[in-house]
Structures are given as C-alpha cells and as structure tokens.
Symmetry: C2
Subunit: 235 residues, 2 copies
C-alpha cells in the first residue's frame, strides 16, 4: 500500500539551488526563510499556541531528488566523501522516502490576510521545498542531551576564512539598503566551505558561484581563505 | 502535486491498540519494539554505521487515522482535554499529513538471514505502524537544550501509583518465565494514566482493559491508585 501525501506549505528561502545550501540547520543564523502555507492548510487558528515554542520541526521533501532512486550506502560529506555508510545511518537526501527533518528557530508568525506564514532562522532548505508537516519542538522528548552521534558528533564548524575583494566590498555597499544581512549571509554560508569534498584540495583557483536571494555571489578558494570576488545581480 | 510514499518497514510492538499506548517515546523503558524492514528496503549494508548512534528517529504514519481528516485545532490531553490549540502547535495524530516523529533508543541491530531489523526501547507506537524513514539522531542539530516548549515544557510524569491484586500477582508469576518484563511494562504504562481526560475524575470504579503483548490487562482506578485486577490471555 502506498500513501499519497500532499504538501501543506512551501519554503521561501534565499538559497536558490542545491549547491551552497547548508547541509544542517542552525549554522547560518542570518539567513531567514518563510514557511508559506498553501490555501486550505493555513487557517490562523491552526497555529494557535505555536508562539509559545522557540523551535519547530519541519518535515519536508527533498523534491529535487524525487524519484531519483537510492542506494543502500552513501558517502557523507562529513567523512570526506570517500567512506560509505548505510543510508539509514545518514541524513542523505537520497533515501527510499526522500523526507527531510530539520529543527529550526521560529522567529515569527504572521496571520495577516487571513492565512498564516512562519518566519524561521537558519534553514538548510532550497527555495521551493515542499513541506509535509510542522510540529512543535518538545524539549523533553526531542532533546536528548546524552545521545551519542556516531561519525557526526559535532557541528561541522568553520572550514574557511571569508574575505571580500575591493570590488565585492563596493557591490555590498551598493546592496546594503535592500539586503542589510547580505554580507553576514555570505560569510555564514561560505565559512562552511560548500565545495564538494573531492574539490577541497584543488588549488586551481577555480571560480565558484551561488545564487543567494537576488544575487550571484562569485568566489575563489586559496588555502583556507574564501575570497568573494564579485556580487552581481542574478540576471 | 501529491507524493506517494511507500512504507519501508513496520513496527512490531507489544501495544496492540491505541488505548494505553503512550503518547510520547521514552516513558516506558521496559517496553521493546522491533523495526521490521520490508523486503527490498533492508539490505544489511543500509544500516552500516548505525550502531555508532545511541538514538534514532522514526518517521511513521498514524495509519489508524489515515484519511480520517483533520481540524485546525485540537485538544491536547496535556491541557486536560478541554483547551484547544492549533494542530501545528501539537503532536496530535490528526494532522493534514498524519506523519509521526519519535526519537527512540536503539538497543540492537540484527542482520541475520540477510535482512536488517532494529530493536528499540520505549516506543510510543502501535503494533503494525508503517515506518516511512529511519534517521540517525544527531545531537548537535537535533538536541536543542535551550528550546522553550510552550504548554508542554516537561515530561508528563507519573500520574498514578500502580498496585496489583493478589489474583493479578498470581497471574504475573504464571507468565514470569515467558514475559519477564511484563510487570514493569504494565507499571510503566499505567503510571501514565491512559484514561481519556474526561474520565480522570470518574470514581465509578469502571474496569479498564488493554492488550499488551499476548495479554489482556484489567485494572480499576480509585483516587490516585491503578489497581491491576487480572492479567488474562488475550484470546
């Protein structure tokens, strides 16, 4: 028997593509996203009481991987991308049922215009991600302080130092009024080193680009420094 | 667009029916359950590395509520059953997508006969529950020590004292060899007071029954004491 599930909401996020989207929530506190409920799923009373919770669970679909299949083992980026673990021992998006799970900070609830939207912090989600469920984070059942974490005990932490070229600094000033958190968002994202594991020892000064909000952010990596070279409008 | 999801596994649990099944995981440590993967979803390598994690997430379906519909507000038992909160501010099983989320202790992994099964502790799950996904519990992303918990800050705690009648003590001795944890399972389950909120002030000495493993457990409540009167075979 299979169970057809309809998304209740969609994520509006500054991350426009999979590359550079953080792999865990909570690492990019300057990044804000919106949970936009679909009509029929968002009467304001459906979020009554949610304001008492500091964090919520998002159950979402890795929609870009929908029907791309799965393998019994995966190579987590946290293990350098060259060691295999079982798919159920990982949070890989390539799973039999590609459902993602993230605990995120709830910043605000907006019920104007007769429908609810939620503002959340630090989400690891691509713009357009379909949401299956929203649940309150219950500390006594969900926060297990003494849990052992296998190969991923600690947060990934800072991988790179982020610097800006003179041109990029001028670009930032240009967008400052419209996007006051842009510099912080770029720093928090690039410090995690979004490059695939197999490129991390590549010193060819390859130029990388990511779409962030309405911007095309360009950077290069040399040793442990990510140098942002330009911030251009995304077309 | 809707997304058809196929369960990857099924829960084998001593709880045979919704009544008396705990509403949160972790409250009944003597109760063990099995995650039994379906063929095709359980090659042993799919759980490689999972033994390094002390806890796992279960994403499952509240299958007994499938297509029973939902309301924007629910009355959580934790609020006495008479105050309404939004469905997204609750863990109610009556949700637009009836997916449940539980963090449980992983006791063991069995890969004999070429397929994996998992033994878990203290699950709040009915026998036969379909499982959509198994994920490792990652403390640094999932354990948020300073989260605020709205109306459900603390674990429910002990509601009743559990006592056994002389007849029930004889029944227990009778089943001791087959079910050595039966007494503890009964105690841990009844101490939570499974009665619906509206019956909690009822002193009519109504007799209650629950199916637990192969047993039909009978009890009465007087003041703050649950008195187990008999433990019978469940037909």
């Amino acid at each position: 028997m299979n169970y057809p599930l309809d998304p209740i909401a969609v994520i509006r996020s500054p991350y426009r593509e999979k590359f550079a989207t953080p792999r865990q929530p909570g690492l990019t506190p300057s990044v804000r996203a919106i949970v936009e409920f679909y009509p029929g799923f968002c009467p304001p009373e459906a979020v009554r009481g949610l304001e008492g919770f500091s964090h919520i669970w998002l159950l979402f679909l890795f929609h870009q991987n929908w029907q791309k299949g799965w393998q019994p083992t995966v190579r987590p980026p946290r293990l350098g991308g060259n060691k295999r673990v079982g798919v159920y021992a990982s949070r890989s998006p390539f799973r039999p049922n590609p459902i993602g799970l993230s605990a995120v900070k709830l910043l605000g609830i907006d019920c104007t215009e007769g429908r609810a939207t939620l503002e959340i912090e630090g989400a690891d989600l691509i713009d357009g991600t379909p949401v299956l469920d929203i649940k309150p984070y219950l500390p006594y059942g969900d926060s297990i302080a003494d849990a052992r974490g296998g190969f991923a005990e600690k947060a990934p932490g800072e991988q790179l130092v982020v610097e800006f070229s003179p041109e990029a600094m001028i670009d930032l000033q240009h967008y400052q009024a419209v996007s006051p958190r842009l510099k912080m968002m770029i720093c928090e994202t690039l410090v995690l080193d979004p490059r695939p594991a197999y490129q991390r020892n590549d010193n060819s000064q390859r130029e990388y680009g990511m779409l962030l909000e309405a911007y095309n952010v360009r950077w290069q990596v040399r040793e442990n420094v990510a140098l942002v070279t330009r911030i251009l409008p995304a077309e």
